[in-house]
Structures are given as structure tokens and as C-alpha cells.
Symmetry: C2
Subunit: 770 residues, 2 copies
């Protein structure tokens, strides 16, 4: 899913910056690369192991409470607030509805396309099994796969690279407060949905669940704004919600709705959003997010029930359904708990291995495979290899099982098996991964030969490592579950042989489930939310306790070696991601040391020319400017009286809210909040605004538009304290003042994200303009 | 559970203030009372409808980062932080373990006592059924009940009144940041556990689940501090955690562990803690809370399995077990969803009625039943009436059912039924409420006569209203579930008659479950956490969606009439409880208007006499004092340079950290953080510290001990902005400064809690010294 191959796409379009830019974030492995860097940018990056990109902007989760805003709020009656509240609920309902609909569409499309494909290949194999021209079947299969994948990869690589991968790292960053360009646009959604259908139908080792989270987020960002910039359509609705704070809340709801539709896990969805994003837990917000999740799962369920011609039978709340676990036969016993813990540890180790391999591969990709056409070719190669490996494994295994009356296989392959039997390896490969997972969970004991399982797990592990990071849109959840289910079932079989326990051998499906949880936990390292997602997908609370144990063990063991997959990809992108707390040993740092200074400040009434010059200065590219009272002494910093954002200044300049120097009492064009909202979120660049020489001499009165009460901290504040304030309130700029309230510095996201806990204590990342 | 009758106990011990004090918070209903108030305190309370008590202190969730603290933190290595982290996990494990153990103990004790009681009464009834002396049985039953309840009520009323009720409102307040005296002491725990055993065994309409939450919280507060002040034992462990911030985190874990043990709902427990308390969501904290919940549920399960002589069979994760719902027979259909919504609305209305009646009753109790002996007598009366009502209903119902082979009743009463039959009304009353709930959920269709159900629901509703608020420790969850299950089952039966639908009539248990959820949701108005708790208690995710819908409807409908039960009780106590957000229409208020001023400030180096005088001034009783730089002009406020707490000053005075005026370079006794931690949390009152006349002339240098970087806001900050900062960071004092950084006011909890949303917009509560 090519999150990192999409390095270019995270921080800016590939074509914006040209393909020849060496991608600096692939610089974690040593000397060769250092030379590489030094050669291309010898000055900028004195240390190149740890970098933090300056390309990423923060979102602004602190309302700018300027006079316009306060006046509007004060004009609003109790009733209008209630209306807003109702609007919020309506929007959440719509988010849930559309997300569910999209999930439904993806499901049906994948089901159909994969159905045609397997049917064609099966026919072909059956035809050639007798005559012995099976290589033709292999070619057919590989070509079909590659074709599907090619179409998907082309869409992603050439139209919208940000749509690659599962999108979970990007949404994590968005919820954390980092602005990832184009991540919540309509075009991204279209490419994502199309891409995921192609890549799943193309038989890659991917799932369609992860991308639902991204899709839900895009739906939310679109619906809540009541307009689409891509479609150039403004419905004049929900204008109040056109700011980062409100939008974030809805995007949380969208992500939750996505999880809910993917796994049929509304509670899990809410927890996912909270665990990954929200820093401030608000009961009403949570409840609304829950509503969106609920509607999403219900919509999917409802439409799928109609599609399956059983309207009213609400039995598929999510895209993946683990099938029904029978409570009685699957009770666990006390003596099994140590086994579960061992499996958790195993999952942690295997997950860490997965992440490590994928990390290396991603760095390789960033360095060598950054042209779109190369990316498409790699994706096609992987598709062909996947088909070949599958075919070879089916071909060489002679693991025949009798075809029972109640078999659940949709495409049982007879191949060289006797009549009335089928090849059991084929059930694992010749199927969408979702179905294979279900087979591993539920097929009766003895369905799979241990060797089959072992080989399958190994092959799929390698394929999945290779696949994650491709320029296709797809998720890693299902492959992880599949790998884990395979080795988990193998583990169960081995245990039953060792312990000669009939109760274990009777339920290999239970071990498959535990293995799946362990493997997934070891890769993604999510905690509470993943437990709930898995429990909800299982539909049975009995497994809650073992799943928790397993996920906990997997996380602890995995964290010992390497971070979670999403965090690795975020780090490789050099995103200034803020964790929950400042590093523990950072109390010796104070605001004075971490802040950026000197700060570019404006006066309360400032010359237009100065403002334009400051905004046009590309070398600094600041986004927030403290407004200070005018000081007579030139060098002395002024007292803080407000904070104004670049975006606000742009709107002011665009509307030419100037006063002439001579008569400052001249009537200003009265700006309204609406003008700011209309420009949100794509404020024009300063270069697009023409200011004449005469106008440059005018003045601008910022009093009405600046935030008069920005949060400030004294210089002596310790880093953890600054961090807490910044993170808890979702700030973008925090002004550092001395004891006279004069501005001495500004703390932004990068100043805090720079410090992190390394192996030997606190480390500082270096900043890079990329 | 007498939360409000315990008004005295919430804000201070009954005996501290004497029984004759008119209890001012029962002043919500009009004229008679107003006279009452005016007579006793004519001057203090000009408006008496809406009051906010000044008796409640805030907890301090903002670390005082003074020099001592920073020095300690800076001395600590990476390793010691890791040790701390491990300690936190160990503590959470212990919290879970002990909470589980307590739950187990309560369960076994109740089971045993109730068993003896029902056995004795059943013997007696059977003996007298033939001879016709059943009134003797009634008396036996009533006396047994009253005796149990009397013992419990005496313990609560005379030993520790705060142990009354479920304790959930108190824990909610604690997690919100309000210091409720004696709520997390060992004595409270002992009385609570003893009390709950007595009241459940005494047959009251109460459950043993709510008190588990309080018990868990007390266990957490005790274990995490590594000492018990009641037992005068200091284990010299976990000293680092002796401050409000850390303690709160552990208390959250304890509350979660309590929920988990009560309902077998570890995820629900975590959500409860977060929904009710934590303002800042931290992933590691959540994960630890989850661990505590998990251990708690597991411990209970493990020990109960041993008690039930089926070690290793982990089938009772919680005190209440809804029993196993069979997935197949209980799938819901699309057309049932409107029915569920109707039931939700019904639950909301009935819940509101419950809350309203209980509100009136509580006000009555506060006014007339505040002597402990009266309280005990009322509890005994309720116990006797409960027995009588039960008996009467069993006696007059002639609803006989054949006693099947697989009957689940433990005490089937034959009474006047034919041989081989039993009285079905008796199954509802002649049982612990937990068992009755389970019977209503699972007994096959036709077990209960509709009239039986209706009468039972009504009678139990009234009994439960009367019982909640008694001076016994007990919870409202189970009675609510029982009432709801009864009318839900009735609803299901009626629907099946109306619709002539065999699928409805086949599953009255499903409607019982939905009814139970609706009734409970209508009373307590919890949202996400309650959904998860119920789903986990049911053990089946299938019901997730309908339960959500029902709880949502119940909440919306219920909120239209009156608040949730816990919120009502918190309000009746005049607790300065901070909700999630400032009232929507409060943007026109600024810090200048809400702050308290003038503020008592200290100089950086202050005369001991001044400090002692300020601290001894009982009319102000401030807890936090801004420290300012000395100003020459007398009236002008000084520039802020720190904030110091009363508790810190007391420790300083106690250790006589004085410098003489003449030679201020004299060696001060070096204080350490340990000295502050040892005094935490029961700092001695100022009166206990003797300061001689000579010492009064000495000076105290506060520089090292004050928090040098308190959070400040400018005067123009709007109330919602102040509120957000205050709430998100869990502050106790927020200093308001002018643009020269001079202290102009102080915002504390009461200043923010004062404003709330009334029917006609923003209302302001009045403050009262009570």
C-alpha cells in the first residue's frame, strides 16, 4: 500500500517537486545514504539520520476567538445553538450513511469481479488438468491478476498518489493535527475506492478494510463542509463548520464509521478514533461518533441484505465477518492461557519481523522506485508473483480432502485429487482473503494438513511484506489476520499432538483466531480499539479476555524490537507527529530552549507593504504572527496583544481591508466571518494577490481579526508542561513571553515533535526543508 | 442508597456540623422552604433556588512544577522513569486483583446469607401453607429482612455515612476533580462492603453492582499510595504517586476494575472511567486501566470457579451474569427496530418519572430524615414493606406453572398450587434480584402471566424509587434492570398478541433484555459505556445495535424531562461539577466577569506573620495564592511570578522554613519533596501549627516552593476559552492577568461551575457557605 513510496505524495505532489528530488526521509540506514544526501544537499542537513520535515503544516484546533467570532457567537441565541447541535447529528448520520454505502459498493464490486476471475480460472484449470497444459492456466491467472492490479495502480500512481496504502497513517496524522495535503479530497476518495476494488480483485495479499477508514474520513470532511471544491459546488449548508476544529470532529466520526463498516464494529470504531486522534474526550462528541458508526454499520448491513436477497436479515454488519463462533465448543480453559500468551509473544516477534522487513523495503522503494511507471510495474510484478506462488503451492501440494456435503468452499478445486475430493491448499489461495480467514477459523479439525498451513503462512507472510507499500490502495488487516490464522491453526494442531489433548485438537479454529489476533497486534500495535474490533467481529464476548491478553503480549514483545507498522511509516515520512506525552526525561528543557526565535511580529496597525513582504518571504513561510503593541525602542520586543494567522491576513489582503495612513477613520469594508469561511480551507497563496504600490503604503488594522487572547507561557515553563498545554488544546502556535508579557518566542509543532525518546535517552531530530 | 440524605456526609461529617443545621440544599421547591431558609440564615442566601456549595475543594490535577519537583525530575534517569512505569502497571494489577477479590467476597457472602434466609422462609411457608398460619411466615420474612437491613444501615449511618448509596455520584465528582471528604478511605470501604452484603441479603430492591465501583476506587486510592492513614501503616512504597494527578489516574483504574468485576465488562469499565472522568485521553493510561479491569474480572472469575468447585471453568466474569443468550433464536428483524425505539422512549419516560419521584423523596429526606436513628428506622421500614409487598403479591397471585424437569428456580414455592406446579410470581420476588433478572431473560415463553408481570413491574418500580436514597449501601443498576425486564417482557407478550407474530412470542426474553436496557438507560443516562457494559454482560455482540438504539432513545426522551439520577443527586448536593463544555451561550462573559477578585497575593519573600494570618482567616479560606514581585506602590497589583498552595505553605510553616530578616543568607532547613508527600493528602489545619511571636517576624522565601509557571489568561478571554483550558488541564487555580502580567483575579472551579444552561438560557447559581 505504498505509504512511503508515496513519500512524494504525503508532503506534496510528485509532479510539484519533480521526480529527481532525492527523497530525504529514506535516510535511516547509514553511510551510503549519507553520501547520497551530502552530495545533493550538502549544507542543509548536517546530521541526516533523524529528520523532521518542515513541509507539514499544523491544523488549527484552537478557535481564533477574534471580535468577529465573538460577535457572531454573542448574537446567536440558545435556539441557534440547538440547531447547530441538530445539524451536527444530521451530518454524522449522513457520514455514516454514505460510508456504509461506499463499503457496500466496494464489497459487491469485489465479490463480483473476484467471482468472475475465479470462475474463469477454475474452468480453465479443470479443462487443462486432464490434458496437462496447466501452464496456460497459470498464465491466465497471472495475466488476469496483473491486469486488475495495473488498472488500480495506474489510477493511484498517476491520478492521486495519496490514495495509496490503507490511509490509516495519514488519518492518524490528520487526527493528530498534521495537515497532510489532499488527504480528504473527493478525488482521493474516488481513486481510493476504485483502487481498492482493483487490488483486491487482482488477488494481491491485501484487504479492503483499511481503506474504509480513509474513505470514511473523506466522506466526513466532504459532507460536513456542505460543499465540494473539486466539483465546484457549494450547497450553502453547514457553513458554521468550516474550520479545523469542527472538521476534525467530523473526520473522527468518519474514521469511526469506516472502521465500523469494515469490521462491523461500531464501538471499536469509536475507540479507534479516540485512541488515534482525539486528545480531548467529550461525551457528546463521542456519542455522535458512535451514532455515525452505528448508522454506517447498519447501512452496510441493510443494503447487503437486499443484495443477498434476504432483506431484513441483518447478519453482515461489516465487510469482514469472522463467521459465527459457537460458544459451547470454544470455551477456553485456564491451562490454555499460557499457550495464548506464548502465541501473543510469537505474534509480537513475527510482527516485528514484518515491520522490519517492510521498513527496509520501503526505504529501498523510496530510493529507487519513485517514478509512477516503475511503481505500476512493481505492482503488476507482485500480482503476477502472487498468482504464480499460489499456483505453485496448489500444484505441488497433494493435500486432498473429501468434499463434504456441507462444504463451504465456493470454488473447490479438484486438480489431481480423486473424484469427490478437493485440494485443501487451494481453499487458502483460491479465494478472497476474507473467505480464507473464515475457512481457517471454522473449518472442522483435520481440514488442513500441518505442512500446508506452515508453507502457506510463510509464503503469505513474504507476499504481504512485499505488498504493503505498493502503489495500490489496500489494507494490511486482512493479510495479517490470514497469516496469523494459518500459523495459529498450525500451533493448535502441534499443541494437540504434543499434549495429546483432545480438547485442543477439537478446536483448531480457536487457535486460528488467537493467532490472527497475535499477528495483527504484533504488526499494528493497536490496543484497546483492536481488542474491541476483534471481539465485535467475532460476535462473541467470550474471547474478550484471551484476545486482550494476546494483544497485550504482542505489543509488549513487539515494542521491544521495533515500532508499529503505521508509526514506522509516519516516521519515514518525517511527519511532526505529537505523541501522548513529552518524553519523560525532558524536564530539564524549558520553553526558552525549545521555542523558535526571533519571532516575526506585526503591530496592531501595520503597513500593508510590510505584511505582504513578510508573507511573501518564502524562506521563513511562517503561519502565525503575534500582534504586539507598538514599541518606540526599535530592538525591544513589544507586548503581546494578539495572534493572527497567515490565512486571515490573506483574506484581509484579498478583500483589501486597508485604511489610508492619513485618515485612519475611513470606512473599512466590513468583513464578516463568512468571508473567512468561504476561503477555508484552500486559502490562495500570497503570490496570487496583487497589491499595488499605493496600497502598500496603506495600513491594516488587525485588532478586529486577530485572536486577542492567545495562550501564552512564560519562558521558564518546562517542556512537558508546554507539551501538555499544546497537545491538550490542539494548538498550532503557542507564544512564549517574558515577565513583562513581551513576545520572546513561538512554540510550534515541530519544536515539540523534535524531541523524542531514543535508546539512550532524549534525542533531538533535525529539521529539514523537504 | 441515601446519597442525599447523606448531604451532611458529602460535605462534612454529620457530627461535625451538628444535626440541627438546616440542610440548605433541599431548597428546590418553593415557598415553604424559602421561609425556612430565611429564618435560619436570613442574610447569606438572597436567592435560594440555585446554590453552589463552597464547601467542596478541588483536587489539583496540575503538577506544581516548583524547583524541588524539577530538580527531582531532572535527577531521574531514563531507567527510573521506566521503573515508575513498571510500578504503575504493578499497582494496576494489584488494584484489579483486590477489587476482584472483594467482589468475590461480596458475592459469596450474599449468596450464603440470602440462601439461608430463603431456605428458612420457604420451610416456614411450606409448613404453614397447609395449616393456614401464613401470617407467621410473613412476619418471619419481614423480621429477617429488617434485621439484615438494620445491621447494614446502622453501620452506614453511624460509622461512615459517605458509604451510603452506590457511590457512583461521589466517584463521578472525584474523577471530575471535586474533593469529596472521606470518599476513598479504608473505613468507607469496609462499611461499604459490609453494608452492601446486609442490604442485598435483606431483600431490598437493590443490587450489589454499583457499590463495586466505589469499592474499586477506594482500593485504588489505597494501593497506589503505599500506605493507609487509617491503619497508620506506611509501606514506604510508591511515594512518587502521592499527589492528586497520579492518584486520580489510579482511581480511574479502580472504578473501571469495579465495573469490570460487577458486570464482567472490562471494556465497559474502561469506557465508564473515561466517560465519567478523564478529561485527557492518554493511550498508555487507558491501556493500564484496561489491564486493571481485565485482572479484576479474571480474579473474580477464577475464585468463583474455585468456590463453585469447577476450577478452570471461567464462566462468571462478573457479579451479574445475564446468562447465555442463544444467537440463533434471538436474531432481530428489521421490523422490530421501531418496536425497540418505542421501548427506548418508554424507558426514557419511566426513567424520568423514577428520577423525578426520587428527587422529591430525596428533598423530603434531606428536610426531615437526617438523624441517623431515623435513617436506620426508615431503612428497616422499607425492608419490612418490601417483604410484605412481596408476600402479598405471591399470596394473591394464583399463577401456577408446572415445574419442569429443567427448571432453574432455586426456591420454587408451591404455595396453593397443585403438586408438581409452582407459583410463578414467587420466582420474581422470592429470589435475589440478579436471579430474577436472569429468569426474566431466559425463561421460556409462557412462564409468566402478563398480569403478574405488570403488577410486579409496578410494585418493584415503587419499591426501587423508595429504596434509592436510603442510608444503606446499594446500587440502582439491578433494580432498574429488573423493572425494565419485567415490563419489557410484558411488552413482548402484548406485541405478539397484537401482531399475532409467532417470532415475537417465541422470544419474550429478547424484549425483556431491551426493556431492561431502556429502563436503565432512562434512569442513569449513560451512553457509550452502558452500551458496552450491557453487550459484555450479555456476552453477545448481536444485541449491540438494538441496545445502542434503545439507550440513545431513552437518553433523548429522558433528558427532555429531567436529568439523570446521578446528576440529580450531584446537583442536590450543590457540588461544583464541571460539565464537558461551557454553556453554549456564554461567549459574552469574559474572565474579568467570572473571576474572583481581589486576590490575596504573597510576595516572593513574605513575612511569616502575614502568611499565618491569611491562612488563619476562616472567612476567606483560600487555597491558592499567586506569588507576585514586590511593588512599591501599595495599591497596584504586583506582577505574577508564581503560585503557591495552602498545603505547601502549611508544610513550610510546620518545618519552620524561615529566614531572619537581618541575615537572609542564613542556612534554611532544606526541605525535600518527600516532606510534602508525607503530609499528603491530609495536611494539618493551620490551627495545629504553633508560630511564636518571634517567628512571626521572620521571613519565608517562597521561590523554591511555588509553581513558577502557573497557567494564566488575559482578562478579555471568553468564558468558554477559560473553561476549556481549566477543564482540559484539570486546573484548580487559573490566574487572570492584565497586559502587564499583573494579577487581577483568580478563576477557580466554583466560578466556572456557577454558570449553567437553564430552560431560558444561561443561569447563574448562587454560592453558599455550607
Amino acid at each position: 500500500m505504498a505509504n512511503i513510496a508515496k513519500k512524494v505524495s504525503w508532503s506534496g505532489r510528485g509532479d510539484d517537486r519533480g521526480e529527481s528530488t532525492p527523497l530525504l526521509n529514506g535516510t535511516e540506514d547509514g553511510k551510503y545514504n549519507r553520501q547520497d544526501i551530502v552530495r545533493s544537499r550538502p549544507k542543509e542537513i548536517p546530521h541526516n539520520e533523524k529528520l523532521l520535515s518542515l513541509k507539514f503544516e499544523s491544523l488549527d484546533y484552537d478557535n481564533s476567538e477574534n471580535q468577529l467570532f465573538l460577535e457572531e457567537e454573542r448574537r446567536m441565541s440558545h435556539m441557534s445553538f440547538r440547531c447547530l447541535e441538530i445539524n451536527r447529528w444530521v451530518i454524522c448520520g449522513l457520514i455514516g450513511f454514505f460510508t456504509g454505502l461506499i463499503a457496500c459498493m466496494i464489497d459487491i464490486a469485489v465479490e463480483r469481479l473476484a467471482g468472475y476471475k475465479y470462475f474463469a480460472v477454475k474452468q480453465n484449470i479443470e479443462k487443462f488438468t486432464e490434458f496437462g497444459g496447466l501452464s496456460i492456466s497459470l498464465i491466465l491467472w497471472a495475466v488476469l491478476n496483473s491486469a486488475f492490479v495495473m488498472v488500480g495502480a495506474i489510477a493511484v500512481a498517476f491520478i492521486e498518489p495519496i490514495a495509496a496504502g490503507s490511509g490509516i497513517p495519514q488519518i492518524k496524522c490528520y487526527l493528530n493535527g498534521v495537515k497532510i495535503p489532499r488527504v480528504v479530497r473527493l478525488k482521493t476518495l474516488v481513486v481510493k475506492v476504485f483502487g481498492v476494488i482493483c487490488s483486491v480483485a487482482g488477488g494481491l495479499a491485501v484487504g479492503k478494510e483499511g481503506p474504509m477508514i480513509h474513505s470514511g474520513a473523506v466522506v466526513a470532511a466532504g459532507v460536513s463542509q456542505g460543499r465540494s471544491t473539486s466539483l465546484k459546488k457549494d450547497f450553502k449548508m453547514f457553513e458554521y463548520f468550516r474550520r479545523d476544529t469542527e472538521k476534525r470532529d467530523f473526520v473522527s466520526a468518519g474514521a469511526a464509521a469506516g472502521v465500523s463498516a469494515a469490521f462491523g464494529a461500531p464501538v471499536g470504531g469509536v475507540l479507534f478514533s479516540l485512541e488515534e486522534g482525539a486528545s480531548f474526550w467529550n461525551q457528546m462528541l463521542t456519542w455522535r461518533i458512535f451514532f455515525a458508526s452505528m448508522v454506517s454499520s447498519f447501512t452496510l448491513n441493510f443494503f447487503l441484505s437486499i443484495y443477498h436477497e434476504k432483506p431484513g436479515d441483518l447478519s453482515s454488519p461489516g465487510l469482514i465477518n469472522f463467521g459465527r463462533f459457537d460458544t459451547d465448543s470454544l470455551q477456553y480453559n485456564l491451562y490454555e492461557i499460557p499457550l495464548f500468551i506464548i502465541m501473543g509473544a510469537l505474534g509480537g516477534i513475527l510482527g516485528a519481523l514484518f515491520n522490519l522487513l517492510n521498513n527496509w523495503l520501503t526505504i529501498f522503494r523510496i530510493r529507487y522506485i519513485h517514478r509512477p511507471c516503475l511503481q505500476v510495474m512493481e505492482a503488476m510484478l507482485v500480482a503476477a508473483v502472487t498468482a504464480t506462488v499460489s499456483f505453485a503451492m496448489i500444484y505441488f501440494s497433494n493435500d486432498c480432502k473429501p468434499l463434504g456435503q456441507d462444504h463451504t468452499e465456493e470454488y473447490p478445486l479438484q486438480l489431481f485429487c480423486a473424484d469427490g475430493e478437493y485440494n485443501s491448499m487451494a481453499t487458502a489461495f483460491f479465494n478472497t482473503p476474507e473467505r480464507s480467514v473464515r475457512s481457517l477459523f471454522h473449518n472442522p479439525p483435520g481440514t488442513y494438513n500441518p505442512v500446508t498451513l506452515g508453507v502457506f503462512a510463510l509464503a503469505y507472510f513474504l507476499l504481504a511484506v512485499w505488498t504493503y507499500g505498493l502503489t495500490v490502495s489496500a489494507g494490511v488487516f486482512i493479510p495479517s489476520l490470514l497469516i496469523g490464522a494459518a500459523w495459529g491453526r498450525l500451533f493448535g494442531i502441534l499443541m494437540s499432538v504434543i499434549a495429546r489433548s483432545s480438547s485442543i485438537s477439537a478446536n483448531p479454529g480457536k487457535y486460528a483466531l488467537i493467532g490472527a489476533a497475535a499477528q495483527l497486534g504484533g504488526i499494528v500495535r493497536m490496543t484497546l480499539s483492536l481488542t474491541v474490533i476483534l471481539v465485535e467481529a467475532t460476535g462473541n464476548v467470550t474471547y474478550g479476555f484471551p484476545i486482550m491478553l494476546v494483544l497485550m503480549t504482542a505489543k509488549i514483545v513487539g515494542d521491544y524490537f521495533v515500532e508499529g507498522l503505521y508509526d514506522i511509516h509516519i516516521k519515514l515520512q518525517s511527519v511532526p507527529f505529537l505523541h501522548w506525552e513529552a518524553p519523560a526525561t525532558s524536564h530539564w528543557l524549558t520553553a526558552r530552549e525549545v521555542m523558535s526565535s526571533p519571532v516575526t511580529c506585526f503591530n496592531r496597525v501595520e503597513k500593508v507593504g510590510t505584511i505582504v513582504d513578510v508573507l511573501s518571504n518564502t524562506s521563513t513561510n511562517h503561519n502565525g504572527f503575534p500582534v504586539v503593541t507598538h514599541t518606540t525602542v526599535h530592538d525591544e520586543p513589544g507586548k503581546i496583544c494578539g495572534l493572527i494567522l497567515r490565512s486571515q491576513l490573506i483574506v484581509l489582503l484579498k478583500h483589501k481591508v486597508f485604511v489610508e495612513r492619513a485618515s485612519s477613520r475611513l470606512i473599512q469594508r466590513k468583513l464578516q466571518l463568512k468571508d473567512f469561511r468561504d476561503a477555508y480551507p484552500r486559502f490562495p497563496p500570497i503570490q496570487s494577490i496583487h497589491v499595488s504600490q499605493d496600497e502598500r503604503e496603506c495600513m491594516m488594522d488587525l485588532t478586529e481579526f486577530m485572536n486577542p487572547t492567545p495562550y501564552t507561557v512564560p519562558q521558564e515553563t518546562s517542556l512537558p508542561r508546554v507539551f501538555k498545554l499544546f497537545r491538550a488544546l490542539g494548538l498550532r502556535h503557542l507564544v512564549v513571553v517574558d515577565n513583562e508579557n513581551r513576545v520572546v518566542g513561538l512554540v510550534t509543532r515541530k519544536d515539540l515533535a523534535r524531541y523524542h525518546m531514543g535508546k539512550d535517552g532524549l534525542e533531538e531530530l533535525h529539521l529539514a526543508q523537504m
